[in-house]
């Protein structure tokens, strides 16, 4: 039976939502899995809503388009929730039961009581990661926020490894010819200029990925993937017996 994760990422323009989804998707493929991405945005400008959908499986993926009922939601900017800067309202719309919700914020957010109740009803697991703070501390700039989130989600779900994420970052910046759009290409060159050298850029990004991963591990967030692996082992043992 195929293991399937549908991931919806929501953020604002300039944060690298699409780049983050591309790196996660490439990392899954690098680790031997199957993955597709569908980016979704209006005009390409900073702080405008952006969504990106990533499907991850160990079998071929046939279906297309947006993900309405995700297993995992990643919120790149608290304004997605507080200002409704999103194509999907409320931010957790369609989240499956026992789903994962990873939010970039310095601590737990005070959600509207109806929203908190609905999230509780579907047993959503909420994780608040100070991704921008980690990016600023480790890389000296906020543009690697997406990397911290990708590291954390890798740790939470066990979908991929740090090595595979690192390879995906290298693929992205050392050129496998993936250009999402003109705007993103321009931003890439700004980032590259800031870091002067590509190797430095890659090292910083990978360091932020590791920091995000470690933050998740230190807080025991990897219990989700550990529990899944345990259940799988139990099921496998039962199947053998």
């Amino acid at each position: 039976m195929a293991k399937r994760f549908n991931i919806r990422m929501a953020g604002v323009g300039g944060q690298g939502v699409v780049t983050g989804s591309h790196i996660l998707s490439t990392a899954v493929i690098n680790a031997g899995g199957e993955s597709t991405i569908v980016p979704f945005y209006g005009s390409e400008k900073r702080m405008a809503p952006v969504e990106s959908y990533v499907r991850v499986s160990d079998e071929p993926i046939y279906e297309i388009g947006e993900i309405t009922f995700p297993h995992i939601i990643i919120i790149f900017h608290p304004q997605v929730i507080t200002h409704g800067k999103s194509y999907t309202m409320p931010f957790y719309f369609g989240l499956k039961e026992d789903g994962v919700c990873l939010i970039n914020n310095d601590g737990p957010m005070k959600l509207h009581k109806d929203q908190a109740r609905e999230l509780e009803e579907r047993r959503a697991r909420m994780f608040y990661l100070p991704a921008t703070k980690i990016s600023l501390e480790v890389a000296g700039m906020d543009l690697a926020t997406n990397m911290a989130l990708m590291g954390a989600i890798g740790c939470i779900t066990g979908l991929t490894t740090i090595a595979a994420l690192e390879q995906a970052v290298k693929d992205r910046f050392l050129g496998k010819g993936f250009v999402v759009s003109g705007g993103t290409a321009a931003l890439d060159s700004v980032v590259e200029r800031k870091f002067k050298k590509k190797q430095e850029l890659i090292d910083k990004n990978v360091a932020v990925i590791k920091a995000g991963w470690d933050f998740a591990a230190q807080n025991g967030w990897d219990e989700v993937s550990k529990a899944a692996k345990k259940a799988e082992a139990v099921a496998a043992a039962a199947a053998r017996a």
Binding site: I64, G65, T68
Partner: protein, 448 residues
């Protein structure tokens, strides 16, 4: 104003490039841009489709169409950059630059493009064009006359919203307008289908006992702008050219004026003979659609495909992107221990009537998800199997205006169809079968 400036303005009023021509490069450096195209060799359709080794590439649907045209020995392609469009016609322009397509230009709009395709096809050359959504409907008048004029050609329709409120997202309502023209209509699920259906479309279109245009449809954006794996033959081979001299209908003789589209006076006077001529004319068009079945079976491996239909609790019938969504719905149902089969319709005209009657003989529940409001596929399926199956038919779920169909909606319909639980997405009037309100169904059938 000084005299010298005035002179400059006079001699070069709009920066005419003639005044700034660079020195010609030495001849030895110039490379023939058509060199690769000239090396292409002709192979038989059988070798091309069934024997030629293929390699896998990860490309968009537009690129798949381009690669299909590269290998199809196309003489003429006419483009109009309607919004929304796919990149296909722009990429065909690249092929023209490389010499793989002999002639290429931009029409004034779709009416002109589709009319010019008619003239070119009548002149005996192999033609290709692509349009989308509003462009399809603008060109529909000439398109509707193509089959009656017996014009072989391939047109690609990358479906987009055409009804209000306006949107540029994918919605395949426009296929319902193409279904009754008398042309052959294929519906591609993915990039691979685009590639295969276009190439095979040319061969089927030009068969003497067919001699009809082929429309290759896909759900725009989902297929044209997204990448998928496509297995392709090498670039160095191409299909045999169109041999109009041996065609069923004489070509336009443009060398002996006055050139005439038909040898007889136009059939337009309303008398008894005209009605008779119209009747036999259209009978022959639709008989030709029927005759194309054997070529579709031979080259495309059937008008539809069926997976796990035997012993299934329910069967999903779908075409295009709805078929892609249905594959995931089948998997989700399997997780819930519900056995669901999938019938994917590749050819909408001709329609796989006999195949469906055979496949659905003992099926109890049929779910037909569609990316449009009216449910044209459900209507065709219900008509085809009426009296041959006792299955309950759920005409839904539907999404429209560009929404992606959540696979969970399809699963819901399978579950509610099996349990009798009221559906949240499909009205009772869109459910046909033994245990539903027939008056409501009649109302539904009249209103789609």
């Amino acid at each position: 104003m000084s005299e010298s400036l005035e002179t400059a303005v006079k001699t070069n009023p709009q920066g005419d490039p003639i005044t700034s021509v660079a020195a010609p490069k030495p001849a030895a450096v110039q490379k023939d841009p058509h060199a690769e195209a000239k090396k292409q060799r002709v192979v038989t359709p059988e070798y091309m489709f069934f024997e030629a080794p293929r390699t896998r590439e990860f490309i968009t649907g537009s690129e798949a169409a381009k690669e299909a045209v590269r290998r199809s020995n196309v003489d003429l392609s006419i483009a109009y950059p309607i919004t929304p469009q796919s990149e296909t016609m722009q990429l065909i322009g690249v092929l023209y630059g490389e010499g793989y397509v002999k002639e290429y230009y931009r029409g004034e709009e779709e009416y002109g493009v589709m009319s010019a395709i008619a003239g070119a096809s009548r002149a005996g050359v192999r033609c290709f064009t692509a349009t989308a959504g509003p462009g399809t409907l603008r060109g529909l008048e000439p398109i509707a006359s193509w089959p009656g004029h017996r014009l072989p050609a391939v047109a690609m329709f990358t479906c987009r919203v055409v009804n209000a409120p306006l949107a540029i997202q994918p919605d395949n309502i426009e296929i319902s307008y193409l279904l009754n023209c008398g042309m052959i209509v294929f519906h591609a699920e993915n990039q691979q289908d685009m590639f295969d259906f276009i190439m095979k479309g040319f061969i089927i279109s030009e068969m003497n006992d067919v001699t009809l245009p082929v429309g290759v449809c896909c759900d725009g954006f989902f297929v044209t702008h997204a990448r998928g794996y496509v297995h392709m033959q090498e670039k160095g081979i191409k299909l045999p050219p169109r041999e109009a001299w041996r065609g069923a209908v004489p070509v336009l003789d443009a060398e002996n004026p006055p050139a005439r589209l038909s040898r007889d006076a136009p059939v337009q006077k309303s008398n008894f003979m005209a009605y008779n001529i119209h009747a036999v004319w259209q009978q022959e068009v639709w008989a030709a659609v029927e005759r194309s079945r054997k070529y579709i079976n031979k080259l495309m491996g059937g008008l539809c495909t069926a997976e796990n239909v035997e012993n299934a609790d329910a069967v999903i019938v779908a075409s295009g992107s709805a078929a892609a969504q249905s594959r995931e719905a089948v998997r989700l149902c399997a997780e819930k221990n519900i056995k669901v089969g999938l019938i994917k319709i590749r050819s909408l005209r001709p329609f796989p009537t006999q195949e469906l009657r055979q496949l659905c003989k003992n099926v109890k529940l049929i779910v037909i998800p569609e990316f449009n409001y009216v449910g044209w596929l459900a209507k065709d399926v219900a008509t085809a199997i009426y009296g041959h199956s006792k299955a309950k038919i759920i005409a839904g779920p539907h999404v429209y205006g560009g929404q992606s169909m959540p696979v969970e909606l399809i699963v819901d319909e399978v579950e509610s169809g099996l349990t009798g639980k009221k559906s949240t997405n499909v009205p009772l009037s869109a459910i046909m079968g033994t245990d539903v309100d027939q008056a409501a169904v009649a109302h539904f059938m009249q209103n789609i």
